[in-house]
């Protein structure tokens, strides 16, 4: 059994390509003896094939088949990559269009009343615009003042209320009179 361990060790080194010719010959003799343990059957076949490649039948079209397989692999890789690039760029372009449209209208909508582009300056000359703006503001101002001027009636009410101030004096006097009356009442009671 000592030799079996040696065989396994030699095989490992053979697979690594480290065996010498003598060692290979030793292995060959061992495998050819026929007394090979079941565990090493696979190794035996592999070893013998590797020692004598002539035993293996090589298909005539192997070359073609290999290069075909390589071509196919390369083409597939290329194809998948191209598809993803195409769809990605399409998606990106679509998104870009939608986002810009969205932003365009969003920006438009956020500027409240004075956004529409159809509205153009009525005046080219700032002096004319100034006159019109002044006229407009004067009109607004005038109307506004018309409204607020009505508030002066409140002042009239205030003035009237001010005139009523002396009445509070009368009230004060009234209070004192009431006190006097109470004194009188008290005096009457004591007199009785």
């Amino acid at each position: 059994m000592e030799s079996l361990e040696r065989i396994i060790e030699l095989l490992e080194r053979f697979y690594k390509g480290e065996t010498t010719l003598d060692e290979e010959k030793y292995l060959e003799q061992f495998f050819n003896k026929g007394n090979v343990p079941e565990a090493l059957f696979a190794d035996k076949e592999l070893f013998l094939v590797m020692k004598e490649p002539g035993n293996v039948e090589i298909p005539d079209d192997l070359n073609v088949r290999i290069s075909d397989a390589i071509d196919r692999a390369v083409r597939n890789e290329f194809k998948t990559r191209r598809i993803s690039w195409y769809s990605l760029s399409g998606l990106a372009a679509g998104l870009l269009v939608l986002i810009s449209v969205y932003l365009f209208f969003l920006k438009d909508g956020s500027e409240s009343l004075f956004t529409d582009k159809t509205m153009e300056d009525t005046y080219d000359d700032p002096i004319e615009a100034y006159e019109e703006a002044k006229r407009t503001l004067a009109y607004v101002s005038n109307k506004f003042n018309e409204g607020t001027s009505e508030l002066q009636h409140i002042q009239k009410v205030n003035r009237t209320v001010e005139n009523l101030q002396p009445l509070t004096l009368i009230n004060k006097g009234n209070k004192e009179i009431r006190l006097l009356k109470q004194l009188e009442k008290a005096g009457e009671i004591t007199r009785q």
Partner: protein, 170 residues
């Protein structure tokens, strides 16, 4: 997945599309350029031009102060008997929760309505709407609006009504 993202984006863009025009815009679009209506638009750009003018007009400085925050003025007036009043339509469409009523001045032949839109305590839009006289008018002012200095413009122009205000100040 892709499909849902796409349809969401499309839906969003249609929502913003449909929501972009305000009631004032719609009324302006509908009537501007038509027979019997006059529109005036003075843009932010024009206000910048005006503020760089050199003028001897004594009103000029007062005007500049009053309009320093204003970015645009839009005016729509109806004139002539052949045209239809537009104020009712405007008021039907105007979101009244945004535009607060400041004042209504009524007299025999017309009604003047003052509306203001406020943002953070500042008036950002001011609408003056005249109706009832058969010649409806809408004046829309946008920007940071200083009503006090606008109200003071009339004083230089010797308008009736202002005397009352000055009396009121006393």
């Amino acid at each position: 997945m892709k499909r849902t993202v796409f349809s969401m984006i499309i839906m969003l863009s249609t929502i913003t599309l449909s929501g972009q025009k305000t009631a004032v815009d719609r009324v302006f679009d509908k009537y501007s350029g038509k027979d019997g209506y006059t529109t005036v638009y003075i843009s932010n750009f024009m206000f910048n031009m005006i503020s760089s003018l050199k003028s001897d007009d004594p009103e000029y400085n007062k005007f500049k102060k009053a309009t320093s925050g204003i970015t645009a003025i839009k005016i729509l007036t109806q004139n002539g008997d052949s045209s239809v009043p537009f104020v009712k339509e405007l008021l039907d469409q105007l979101p009244r929760s945004e535009y607060k009523e400041m004042m209504v001045v009524k007299d025999q032949n017309e009604e003047v309505l003052f509306l203001a839109r406020e943002e953070k305590g500042l008036i950002t839009e001011f609408l003056l709407i005249v109706s009832g006289s058969g010649e409806d008018a809408l004046i829309a002012i946008q920007g940071n609006i200083d009503l006090e200095s606008i109200a003071s413009i009339a004083s230089g122009l010797n308008m009736p009504g202002l005397d009352n205000l000055q009396e009121f100040d006393k």
